[in-house]
């Protein structure tokens, strides 16, 4: 397994990034704030008004450093990609399977299975940790419902019904999500997922963390030579990275949702760290955004034993490990794709 390299997040407005030798230099107000060798980085994420010199972008493209641009609030805008690399045979196999309904269904089932199982673990943990405070019946009911769905998934081999199960899982899961928030109830209310723009603080946090995860998943897929745009569960749509969305499913509960929950429950994000615009959209301020980024990076550095590989790896490498397993499955080195199941 390759070494986990760092990600540079630039949130300072008006920052200018350029290349000097083989280092990235971050300049703010004509003053060098940071100098980093490119070899220590796997990606750079720029938020809002951040400039990158063309030479730096070229150098990053050559060295497999993913550069993404987001709005100040974390909505994905653009990315810079170097020459297409990786194995053409692998990609062809990916397209072939994506064109075939049966093969797509087989993979889609695994992605959803991972998501359902991990979502259930979140609810179970909630039940165990603060079952006394939270309305336990609802949680318990939802847990059983999700267990039922995962059993049903094993019998489904039709893509549409798998998507149907996925939708129902998401509904049942998010119906219970509010009861997992145990502190600061009055500020952090969750009454269902909404986005573009998020209309409450919880959704604002979720959307932001999902965007970070999306960036990481896309880089992981590209590293192993898969095309992030051609998915199995999600249909092709211009501008959408369907395979990245597919692979994200199993990580949403484990990485993103849990992070958001602990940020709120441990009081790391505060009510006043958000602003509500006239249109009802909720945004986080610079301070909060930094807190979330730090928490996300810290989380990625924790080590965990991969249930399938039985190897200790940093959480941030999990998406890479899964992307690698996916490519092994597509190459027929594995009989089935093993989703990441969190214990």
């Amino acid at each position: 397994m390759r070494k986990m390299l760092n990600t540079l997040y630039v949130t300072t407005q008006g920052a200018y990034l350029h290349k000097e030798g083989e280092t990235v230099v971050v300049q703010v107000d004509k003053e060098n704030k940071l100098r980093l060798p490119v070899i220590t980085l796997s990606s750079i994420v720029c938020f809002g008004n951040v400039l990158c010199s063309p030479f730096l972008l070229g150098h990053c493209a050559e060295n497999d450093v993913a550069v993404s641009f987001m709005t100040e609030y974390g909505r994905f805008l653009a990315r810079v990609q170097g020459p297409v690399s990786g194995n053409v045979l692998l990609r062809r196999e990916q397209y072939r399977r994506a064109d075939c309904d049966r093969s797509s269904a087989e993979l889609a089932r695994m992605f959803v299975l991972g998501k359902v199982a991990n979502a259930r673990t979140i609810l179970q943990r909630g039940l165990r940790d603060h079952g006394a405070k939270a309305p336990a019946e609802g949680l318990d009911q939802a847990c059983r419902q999700l267990a039922h769905y995962s059993k049903r998934l094993l019998q489904e081999d039709d893509l549409e019904s798998i998507r149907g199960v996925e939708g129902r899982t998401a509904r049942d899961y998010f119906d219970q999500f509010d009861s997992l928030i145990v502190t600061r109830k009055q500020d952090f209310v969750f009454s269902g997922r909404n986005r573009r723009p998020p209309r409450d603080r919880v959704n604002c946090l979720l959307s932001f963390v999902y965007a970070l995860l999306y960036h990481d998943t896309r880089s992981a897929l590209e590293t192993v030579g898969l095309d992030p745009a051609v998915g199995f569960l999600h249909r092709d749509r211009p501008g959408r990275l369907s395979l990245a969305l597919d692979l994200m499913e199993e990580f949403r509960p484990f990485l993103a949702d849990r992070l958001v929950l602990s940020l709120i429950n441990l009081g790391q994000v505060k009510n006043k760290g958000f602003e509500v615009t006239a249109s009802g959209a909720v945004r986080m301020d610079d301070e909060t955004r930094k807190t979330v980024l730090v928490a996300y990076q810290k989380r990625k550095q924790e080590e965990i034993e991969h249930p399938f590989l039985q190897e200790k790896i940093p959480v941030g490498m999990l998406v890479f490990a899964q992307a690698q397993l996916l490519s092994r499955y597509l190459r027929s080195d594995l009989d089935a794709y093993p989703p990441f199941l969190w214990r």
Partner: protein
């Protein structure tokens, strides 16, 4: 692994000043300057071999010297900083 690189390059003539700049540049491309001629480099074994070779080729072994300290993967326990110019943690969250 973490390698601490320190160097002493004679700058009595212009060739020496040139060597000094080139050594500094190679170090900068692989690590972080923590003091004037001291660099902390987080490198993998392949990168290290390459970097070491580059440095050895630049210096003049009659006049200059290089010292490498291998701090391994658990280097954090072995480093303590006192005073100004605290170094950034290259493995920690990089948010600016």
């Amino acid at each position: 692994m973490m390698v601490l690189v320190s160097y002493d390059v004679s700058t009595l003539d212009r060739a020496g000043a040139r060597r000094l700049r080139r050594v500094a540049k190679v170090c900068q491309n692989h690590g972080q300057r923590v003091q004037y001629s001291v660099f902390e480099c987080l490198v993998d074994p392949a990168q290290w071999t390459q970097m070491r070779q580059q440095l050895i080729e630049i210096i003049d072994d009659e006049q200059d010297s290089l010292r490498f300290y291998f701090l391994g993967a658990n280097w954090r326990k072995r480093v303590e900083h006192v005073g100004a110019k605290e170094a950034i943690d290259m493995e920690g969250p990089l948010i600016l």
